[in-house]
């Protein structure tokens, strides 16, 4: 297995072989980030590809002095590119909420990284996140999951810090409602 350093160097030198290895290695993780922001699976796949194109075109700007931190820095860089590309698309669509179910085929039921029960819970939680209106979804994802501060979010979304905070509050309230509804449903089934 190639080391991240070798792959990055190969990508910087423009070797298609290393670019392909890089793409194959990080595509899955990138999709998981994008799909939290973008409602439609096919659109998410396109955004991931757009993100990688941006990455390869700007790879010369990528700097990491310390080899031990390379993987961490790289992941952060990819995450930032993917999130920005996703937000660009949502902005293009005027942050209008989406409609329609999430088809079952997008879920990897054979994923062995967690127990089946856990996987189901995670899947349901992600569906809840995706059902949030786009602005709330972006703020919730950026702050709660991706660790952005409200100042950073306000800067990226071009909104006041207060708006970012209130959006997060409303998003959390909606999530709480979803969770309560889910619990009520479970109780009814029991």
């Amino acid at each position: 297995m190639e080391k991240a350093f070798t792959i990055i160097k190969g990508c910087k030198d423009g070797y298609p072989k290393y670019q392909k290895i890089f793409y194959e290695r990080y595509r899955g993780a990138a999709l998981k980030i994008v799909f939290r922001y973008i409602y439609n699976y096919e659109e998410a796949l396109e955004i991931v590809n757009d993100g990688f194109v941006k990455f390869f075109k700007n790879i010369d700007k990528f700097r990491c002095e310390n080899d031990t931190d390379l993987e961490k820095v790289l992941n952060g860089w990819i995450k930032r590119i993917m999130i920005n590309t996703s937000i660009d698309l949502l902005r293009k669509k005027m942050l209008l909420p989406e409609i329609g179910g999430i088809p079952e085929y997008v879920w990897n039921v054979e994923d062995k990284s967690s127990s089946p029960d856990q996987a189901m819970i995670y899947k349901d939680l992600m569906i809840m996140v995706k059902q949030l209106p786009p602005v709330y979804r972006i703020v919730f994802n950026m702050h709660v999951i991706d660790g952005y501060t409200h100042i950073e979010i306000a800067d990226i979304l071009k909104m006041p810090v207060g708006t970012s905070k209130s959006n997060l509050q409303r998003a959390k309230l909606l999530m709480q409602n979803y969770l309560n509804q889910r619990e009520e449903l479970n109780e009814c089934r029991i």
Binding site: Y23, N40, L45, N108, S114, K123, L125, M126, I145
Partner: protein
Amino acid sequence: MQDLKNDMDELFQRAAENYPLQPGKGEWESIAKRIAPAEADDVVLLKKKTYRKSTMLLLILALPVGWLLFRNISPHSVGSYNYSAKPIKENSFQQPGENNGIGIKLKKDQPGNNTGAQINRYHKKILQEGRIVSIKLSTGTGVEYAEEGQSLVNKRLNDTKSNQEKKSILTPVFLDRINRGFPGPPGVKTEPGGSLNITVATENKNLKKIQGQTNSTRPGKQKKNVTASIKNKSIYIGLVAGPDLSKVQSMGFSTAGIATGLIAGVGIGKSLFLETGVIWTKKYYDSKGSDFSMDKIGSGMAPGMIINDLSSQSTFIEIPVKIRYDALRKRNGVFFIAAGVSAYIMTKEKNLYNVTMNGSQEKMTGLYKQYNYGIPAIANIGIGYQQNVSRLLQLRVEPVLKIPLKGIGVGSLPVTSTGLQFALIRRFK
């Protein structure tokens, strides 16, 4: 409380890290193309030059191909019928007034048989297998030639001639092909059991029905019958395009869409054609929320949400199967009516919803790329006119009406469409 919030955040962080998502198929090839280094200007210039040269070469090559395809096209002759089955027999001669354009009389050119104006005699001028040939039409006093593809139906010889001669009506008979069993040049010899492919012009309506009998009333001669059956074996293909206007129930028409594709047809009767094709259609339509069925996407809707109305943009592949009937033939064209059904495959649907959620009006979008289909889902009715551009090329204009038999798309909307289809058609014999 703070702990609960922290727990919730942590739960979502873990979920985001580990939720089971299909990685999908990678599209490395498309990315590789997009990130390929930009070519130098001189390379681009060279490519442009090569492209121009290739285009020129293709055009030069296309010319002989076009000539081969259209060399047999004649501007006047428009109908092609196959006469076969019963033997076409030779009438030795006729009385004046006989066979005025309702039969086929072919006979060898024999000196002495020409008895002046009383006989209309037909013999071939040039005969070549597989090609349209010219027929010489002769009367006692005047000779007229029907050139290749020319029509002389019901054409009187000459206004200056006598009244009796004026009655002589020339029947155009253009030999298209002499089948086996007939000798080649120089003489046309019609033998029992043989058949002829004859191309006739359509100016004379009677000629569409060339059939039945050619009688000889010569005393003492046995009545001879010439029967020819008409079989329409024509096949055609065409390019079709035109605007498409769609609406749902009482809502008005929205922006005009487009329909374009390929059609193909085959003759199944004297004036009947079976037609099919593949039509790519883009439709725009608005509908009320009450017409939108939630059966297919109900699970994805937020509880308590009501759709007030929506605007849709859909892309279909439509496969029509219809019967065309040529109702009225004109000099250079035909009026027809067509009816049939269509199946559709929906490749993309994009809806913009106006919804009421928690008492407030909101806008929402929905994009559906999963293929949705219906067989058959649309009834088609059309009335049109087909104009002959040349012997094998035709232009068609057809206003069409498409009535839904089933609901279309994720909301099973009853989309009614109308449009004007223009087609360029190439006929094959």
